[in-house]
């Protein structure tokens, strides 16, 4: 037994080529999955904190009733370890040397902002800088436009109510410069402690108190549980995930990362499977020898199991040693992209999938062929047995597929993802079966000759079993990689489409009906035509089918939209980016009915025909729902929950008009002329928000690209592993062919052709399967319409043909450089 153990010794094992491939596959598996998981968790944290800065906190509590919340609520939050902050927002007139102006005031406490930074300038020509807190008591920061409007200079004083404040900075961007219709006028920022002395806020003034909270998720959640029962309808608890504009982008980025991670798992499993099968085949002689030496099946099973465990350990340790520096590098990249330091955050939970992947791919993929080694007959020592390998692998394969898809499911938590990938894979294997049959049927007639083409075809036929299994692996690898590339491009296209460079970045609000034409002409003259203008009437939804809405809708489903005034409109044509999903749009001349936005309808449980009663001022309007439509909230155009027909329920109501348009930065001074000519119209500048969103999209895009590159590299390694698995056979064959008189050039050309054909077929199959998977995925996970991606469908088979031909050439070079003398010396 001592000699046998020595034969089985680990040190000797390291020198085995196939073991090195198995280990490489395992290390790559662990490294890829760990890196992606770590990075995904890091990215998510970073994105959430980036997005948190949109709230200037992790959560906000808004009180729209003009009253502060009980002090106890804040002390409770602080006792739970949360940071808190406070802001007050209101509108008022301010006076400067050049006149007066309606402004929107934001008064902030010392803690503001809990997340993100404020961008300010010390003077109109000073560089912009980021600061972590608002103005000190006695100071005011103003929107730069106010400098001209009020003929102010830095250091002058500005009269806010009863108080004179010194202008100490220009407010360029607030982290939470959200899209709020209440903040219409140019912004000024003051310290919260100054608010009482201004005397502006009196009983009944329209004021909004906003409270900021930040801390870890658990504490925030616990606090919300505590707070929930105490909230009144006019309180609104807002988290990052609820922000309509960004949540979609975040969700999709997360989905993409999960998809990428799942594909990495699959690729890794494939690599381990290929290499360990090769290893098992090469071990048969050793096992037969051990058996003749008297080692029993059980002993052999144990020996190999021990070995497997050791591989697992090596794979995990090696994988982590690769993953950590890689992750560190990605984190650095991320912080470069974000232009701010990103804290290196090692999430232990993120390592679990990597470890699980290593164990599952070892035991579901590597173990079965190795277990079957126990059954190798000792007779093999004397003569190799016919009919070995191949058929009995089928049940193994089934187990492996179930295991790995279980893993993906566990990992991504998306059954639809697993189903889509599995479907694509089944399609692929079916196509491969068909192709194999065709290969046998057509190629058996081809006869070889001095011609490289014919030699290549004959080669494909003769190695049909190996060729088909290689093709299966290539096609699968390509399918997985192509799926990822396709999903990535549709994701990015979607984002780009949502926010084109000329997306509207300014809103005009409060346009009097008789000014509509003039306003339109003003911007037309300056080459910045307005988008469509919509009338806007503010009203509350108060009754549903005759019952007060607060009774009709259960408390959990009370929606923000019910708490505040809704913007109602009328329009004759459906905006192009809206879509009717139930009912019918208004006919020309129709005077009745209302069209409701789909998500709101779902949350309130509204359906066609329900009667809605709106209270507008002192009037009530009741209409039945005639259609339900979807709205693109992130389109940066005016969007409405409720739309009426032009001659319908709103016609006699007092309306103002709203519109949006694109104004490039260098033309912003036109806003001053505009404000002078139309002093009552409010301009809402959201260009900074748009910049921010575009910046986030760019960040996410780059992160996605980095991960994509990682996975493509893994795919390439898998392919190289598969190709080199047959290296020994090919070297032997090459040496023999040369001894028998094959010229080098013929050998080179036919091998390259053979591989090119292999790659081409695999490419076509892989791409078609990928399209199928993407089609299925797009159905559920990613919104968007499916179309063939010719820019991927055409090049992938070509590229894979070329890459494989080069692989083939590379693999052949040892054959070419080695003297055929080796054959006489019994090439091993």
């Amino acid at each position: 037994m001592a000699a046998a153990s020595k034969l089985m010794s680990v040190r000797r094992d390291w020198r085995e080529r196939d073991v090195r491939v198995v280990l490489a596959a395992l290390i790559i598996a662990v490294a890829t999955v760990a890196t992606i998981a770590l990075f995904a968790s890091q990215l998510q944290r970073t994105l959430v904190s980036s997005a948190s800065s949109f709230l200037a906190a992790d959560r906000q509590l808004e009180a729209e009733n003009g009253r502060e919340i009980p002090g106890e609520w804040l002390t409770e939050a602080q006792s739970r370890g949360l940071e808190t902050g406070r802001m007050v927002e209101f509108s008022t007139m301010v006076f400067g040397s050049g006149g007066f102006q309606l402004v929107s005031v934001k008064a902030v406490s010392d803690e503001y902002p809990l997340r993100g930074e404020i961008e300010v300038q010390d003077a109109a020509d000073a560089p912009r800088k980021l600061v972590g807190s608002g103005p000190k008591p006695g100071e005011v920061w103003i929107n730069p436009r106010l400098l001209r409007l009020l003929e102010l200079n830095i250091g002058d004083s500005l009269e806010v109510g009863n108080l004179n404040l010194r202008v100490s900075g220009l407010l360029i961007r607030e982290p939470d410069g959200g899209f709020r219709l209440s903040s219409l006028a140019p912004r000024i920022m003051i310290h919260a402690d100054d608010v009482p002395s201004t005397g502006v806020i009196q009983e009944g003034s329209r004021v909004e108190y906003v409270y900021l909270f930040a801390g870890d998720d658990g504490a925030l959640e616990g606090y919300y549980q505590w707070l929930q029962s105490r909230l009144e309808p006019s309180h609104e608890w807002e988290g990052v995930r609820d922000g309509e504009t960004f949540s979609r982008s975040l969700e999709r980025a997360e989905s993409f990362l999960l998809l990428g991670g799942s594909l990495a798992v699959l690729l890794a499993a494939v690599a381990v499977a290929v290499a360990s099968r090769q290893y098992a085949l090469s071990q048969r002689d050793t096992v037969a020898l051990l058996k003749t030496l008297g080692v029993r099946s059980r002993g052999i099973g144990k020996l190999y199991l021990r070995r497997l465990a050791l591989w697992g350990l090596t794979g995990i340790v090696g994988g982590l040693l690769v993953a950590l520096p890689l992750f560190w590098l990605l984190t650095r990249l991320l912080s470069n992209v974000l232009e701010r330091p990103v804290e290196f955050y090692l999430d232990p939970a993120a390592l679990a999938p990597a470890l699980l992947t290593a164990l599952v791919s070892l035991f579901a993929f590597a173990y079965p062929p190795i277990r079957r080694l126990r059954d190798v007959p000792a007779m093999r020592v004397l003569r190799s047995q016919p009919g070995e390998g191949g058929r009995e692998a089928l049940p193994d394969f089934a187990i492996a597929i179930i295991a790995v898809f279980g893993l993906v499911w566990l990992y991504a938590g998306e059954l639809s993802l697993v189903a889509a990938l599995l479907g694509g894979l089944v399609l692929l294997l079916g196509a491969l079966g068909l192709l194999g049959w065709l290969l046998v049927a057509t190629l058996r007639r081809v006869r070889g000759g001095g011609n490289a083409w014919r030699l290549a075809l004959v080669g494909l036929y003769r190695h049909r079993r190996a060729s088909l299994s290689q093709m299966a692996v290539f096609a699968m690898t390509l399918m997985l990689a192509a799926t990822l590339v396709l999903v990535r491009s549709s994701l990015l296209d979607d984002w780009q489409a949502q926010l084109p460079p000329d997306a509207p970045n300014h809103f005009l609000i409060n346009i009097a009906p008789d000014a509509v034409e003039e306003v339109s002409a003003f911007w037309q003259e300056r080459g910045q035509p307005l988008n469509q203008q919509y009338p806007m009437v503010r009203g509350r939804l108060t009754e549903l089918n005759g019952r007060p809405v607060k009774e009709a809708v259960s408390k959990d489903e009370r929606v923000g939209a019910l708490n505040r005034e809704l913007n109602l409109t009328w329009m004759s044509t459906l905006p192009t980016d809206n879509e009717i999903i139930q009912g019918q749009w208004f006919d020309p001349g129709q005077t009745e009915g209302v069209s409701v936005e789909a998500e709101l309808a779902e949350r309130l449980g509204l359906s066609l025909g329900d009667r809605l009663t709106f209270t507008i001022g002192s009037e009530k309007v009741t209409e039945s729902i005639t259609s339900i439509r979807t709205v693109q909230w992130d389109s940066m155009r005016p969007n409405f929950y409720m739309a009426f027909p032009p001659e319908g329920g709103l016609t006699d109501m007092p309306a103002t008009w709203i519109t949006s348009f694109y104004l490039p930065t260098d033309k912003k001074t036109a806003l001053n002329d505009f404000s002078r000519q139309f002093p009552t119209i409010s301009v809402l500048e959201i260009d900074h928000i748009i910049d921010r969103i575009q910046q986030i999209v760019r960040q996410v895009t780059q992160a996605i690209e980095a991960i994509l590159a990682l996975i493509l590299a893994a795919a390439l390694v898998v392919m190289a592993a598969v190709v080199s698995a047959t290296l020994r056979d090919r070297q032997r064959e090459g040496a023999l062919l040369r001894t028998l008189g094959g010229r080098q050039s013929l050998l080179v050309r036919s091998t390259m052709l053979e591989f090119a054909l292999l790659g081409g077929f695999a490419g076509v199959l892989g791409v078609v399967a990928a399209e199928a998977a993407v089609w299925a995925l797009q159905f559920r996970m990613f919104e968007g319409n499916f179309s063939w991606h010719w820019q991927v469908v055409l090049p992938v088979p070509l590229i894979s043909a070329v890459v494989l031909a080069l692989f083939g050439r590379w693999q052949l070079s040892p054959v070419l450089s080695v003297s055929p003398m080796l054959l006489l010396r019994r090439l091993e």
Partner: protein, 239 residues
């Protein structure tokens, strides 16, 4: 096979002062030293010697699988060291056959496909009929579609012999063709080899341990520590 140059080239293989050295880490090892010999068309020659004496090395050089450090090998009128790798391959494809001790059949191919291989490389049309004919000749007509794994050692070597004769070589090199076979099988394989050799009028150069097999060849060479001698010729000289 008609060869109009037959008169002029009675000599099939001429070796002149062949020396082969390999460099090791510390010094160089001389494997062959001053080997000279001439073999005529149609002759059969055995090279015998102890293990490690340099037989395989010599055979490889004679067949143009490798180039010598010194001296010349002229095979069927071509000086091997003057040919490029591809020209040597072409020469092998048309004129040289091999039988190896370890058979060297490709495991993925059937018996027939293995025999077809050199025919295809030589660019011959319809190689199938010829392969079948040869396999029938070596008594494996029933095993055409079996892979090497399904054949015994003796059967595999018979396939290898069929392959060696497939392209009608003018010279055949065999390195211990019976070395891996038992006595009786070895006997039948060597019978087959000698028979085919006679039928086809091939020149045969064979390395062997087998005294009987060596005795069946027209001439015998001894090699020891890289030095080649021909005992009978030596005796003739002495007489």
């Amino acid at each position: 096979m008609t060869d109009f140059n037959a008169e002029r080239r009675q000599t099939m293989l001429r070796v002149d002062n062949l020396t082969h050295r390999v460099s090791l880490e510390t010094d160089t090892l001389t494997i062959l030293q001053g080997v000279s010999l001439e073999i005529n068309r149609g002759e059969s020659v055995a090279i015998v010697g102890r293990s490690g004496s340099g037989k395989t090395t010599l055979l490889g050089l004679l067949a143009g699988l490798d180039t010598p450090s010194d001296g010349t090998v002229e095979l069927d009128g071509s000086v091997i060291s003057k040919l490029t790798e591809d020209e040597r391959a072409k020469l092998r494809a048309r004129r040289v056959g091999f039988v190896f001790q370890s058979f060297q059949l490709l495991p993925a191919l059937t018996a027939r496909e293995n025999v077809m291989l050199p025919l295809e490389l030589a660019g011959m049309e319809s190689p199938e009929a010829r392969a079948r004919e040869l396999l029938e000749r070596v008594g494996l007509g029933e095993r055409l579609n079996h892979t090497p794994r399904q054949l015994s050692g003796g059967e595999q070597q018979r396939v290898a012999i069929a392959r060696a004769f497939a392209s009608d070589p003018v010279i055949l090199f065999a390195d211990e063709p019976t070395g891996n076979l038992d006595n009786r099988t070895g006997q039948s394989v060597s019978d087959l080899l000698m028979e085919l050799n006679r039928e086809q009028g091939t020149t045969l150069v064979m390395v062997t341990h087998d005294e009987h097999l060596a005795a069946r060849c027209g001439r015998q060479f001894h090699i020891e520590a890289g030095i080649l001698t021909e005992p009978e010729a030596a005796r003739e000289l002495a007489d």
